[in-house]
């Protein structure tokens, strides 16, 4: 059951006033223009025990994603597909407003929206990750731990998952005498595209991309759009109790394609893939 909640972050009216004045003049409080994304830093292979990992900083928002590749049963109805499971946890270290405990509806939404972007874009060609159809397949876990919250967890987590997956070294398993053995060799993951999500929010009459915590506390509605390398939209999610006009939605989608391509190029450069 989902319940509307009291806001945890209350922004001072002074700051709201400053924000409104600044935005209507085309700049945000941190100096960015309305559609400007914060600097992205990515460090790969930070968890040596994982098969792939990435520590992403999107401004002050920081997320670590780790990939673990094992073997297991395929999902029901997907006998010829490797299994991929994406989880996310906003760690209690990340913000004064996080209570330790089982994931709440926002965290579950976070994991599922990130998963949708990766799965629907078919970033990983799961058909190449089958050992015995219907019985034994590769199981790819991508687990995300949010380290510091400063807005836009959706995009930061998505970039971490994409970077960790694209750069991972997958172990090679084989079937020998009806048993799964790890050969000790590694292989490149079967990557087909890099899905990139861009989140835009509405504050009053203005559309702003990549919001900080403070901007999120003032937003009316949020729209996340994930695109692939071919220029198609593969996932969308609207959030919060406000609304968007049809023009807003179309304009956000256009921007997401353009910005998405920019960010894709940047991430490719940062993780050194073609």
């Amino acid at each position: 059951m989902s319940l509307s909640k009291k806001s945890t972050v209350i922004v001072e009216n002074l700051r709201k006033k400053q924000m409104r004045e600044s935005i209507s003049a085309g700049k945000r409080l941190d100096g960015r223009s309305l559609d400007e994304i914060r600097p992205i830093e990515i460090e790969l292979d930070v968890i040596k025990k994982a098969n792939g990992s990435a520590w992403v900083k999107l401004g002050n928002t920081e997320v670590v994603a780790g990939v673990k590749v094992e073997t297991g049963e395929p999902f029901e109805g997907l006998e010829n597909s490797g299994a991929m499971i994406i989880t996310a946890e906003v760690l209690p270290i990340a913000s004064p407003h996080v209570e330790p405990g089982p994931p709440d509806e926002e965290t579950i939404e976070l994991a599922r929206v990130v998963d949708r972007g990766v799965r629907e874009s078919e970033m990983l060609d799961l058909s190449k990750l089958v050992l015995v159809p219907g019985k034994i397949v590769y199981t790819i876990f991508v687990d995300c731990s949010v380290i510091n919250v400063d807005g836009n967890l959706l995009d930061a987590t998505s970039y971490a998952v994409v970077s960790a997956l694209a750069s991972c070294k997958m172990p090679v398993f084989e079937i020998k005498d009806d048993k799964v053995i790890e050969t000790g060799k590694t292989q490149e993951p079967p990557i087909t595209t890099l899905p990139i999500s861009v989140t835009t929010v509405r504050i009053g009459d203005y559309l702003i991309s990549d919001p900080t915590t403070e901007e999120e506390a003032c937003m009316d509605a949020r729209l996340t759009i994930t695109t692939n390398s071919k220029g198609s939209i593969v996932a969308m999610q609207k959030g919060l109790k406000g609304y968007f006009s049809i023009e807003d939605v179309k304009s956000i989608a256009d921007k997401a394609l353009i910005k998405g391509e920019e960010i894709r190029g940047k991430i490719k450069g940062l993780i050194n893939i073609g």
Binding site: I10, E12, N13, L14, K16, K17
Partner: protein
């Protein structure tokens, strides 16, 4: 001239030996005075203490704080003062003794998100701080830029008898409201002045413990030699404002040392 010795310490380090009076952020262990926080020691004939360099704001009665209205019940507003306790501003403070929720509208006076500068009228170990805005220069702050610094740097920002902050205000043509809780509002007509003031405040925050801070601020603000009293230590304002701390902070001096004092004294 009293001899003043200063050292950098972390918790557990010895501040001084001998029969000195333990002041704040220290405790006595046998013949030694030991630091309880990261900071700079100060010991002389009056006693030994540590001037802390980190830590959230812990309320003290009579402190001036800048707070944010969160909500209100029928009798008081709850105010975020950037501390471990929510503070309360009683409705009676504004409406007077015969306040009645039936005909006095609290929301009209102060609403969620409003910023106020208030004095902590009452605070002790048994309850949340109670605020008042009845004194001169207290009340709602309608405009200005709000910034946050570590509360431990506030004494340095104020300076000896207010000299540091007044110099910054004059040089940047701004009015700066400083809360002991580290929340600061800078107001003024000139955008560049406000930016200058904020830069100066950030430099003080980062370099509070260094020895030629005053000079650097002077350079930044283009202020001639005579105008800021050379105050190359963080100590004096800190001394003035931390005496009340003895009562609430670092009760470490007396109470529980029996637990670790190997010579059996308590």
């Amino acid at each position: 001239m009293q001899e003043v010795k200063r050292k950098y310490v972390i918790p557990g380090d010895i501040v001084a030996e001998g029969n000195l009076r333990p002041l704040v952020n220290v405790f006595k262990n046998g013949n030694s005075i030991v630091a309880t926080r990261i900071g700079i020691t100060e010991s002389n004939n009056d006693g030994a203490k540590v001037i802390p360099l980190s830590g959230i704001y812990f309320p003290r009665a009579n402190d001036i704080v800048v707070g944010k209205i969160l909500d209100h019940s029928s009798l008081s507003w709850s105010v975020d003062i950037n501390s471990c306790f929510a503070a309360h501003l009683p409705a009676q403070d504004i409406f007077g003794r015969d306040f009645s929720p039936a005909h006095d509208d609290m929301g009209r006076q102060l609403s969620t998100g409003d910023v106020i500068v208030a004095r902590i009228a009452i605070f002790d170990r048994t309850r949340d701080p109670i605020l008042t805005i009845q004194d001169k220069d207290l009340g709602k702050i309608p405009t200005g830029e709000l910034i946050k610094i570590s509360p431990t740097r506030v004494p340095r920002l104020i300076g000896k008898r207010g000299s540091m902050i007044q110099t910054i205000e004059q040089a940047s043509s701004t009015r700066i409201t400083i809360g002991q809780n580290g929340i600061i509002v800078v107001s003024g007509k000139d955008k560049d002045g406000i930016t200058l003031a904020i830069n100066a405040i950030h430099i003080v925050e980062v370099e509070a413990h260094t020895s030629n801070l005053t000079q650097r601020i002077r350079q930044l603000l283009n202020v001639p030699e005579s105008e800021i009293e050379s105050d190359d230590t963080q100590t004096s304002e800190a001394s003035d404002t931390t005496i009340n701390q003895d009562e609430i902070n670092s009760n470490s001096n007396d109470k529980e040392m029996g637990m670790i004092n190997s010579n059996g004294t308590k």
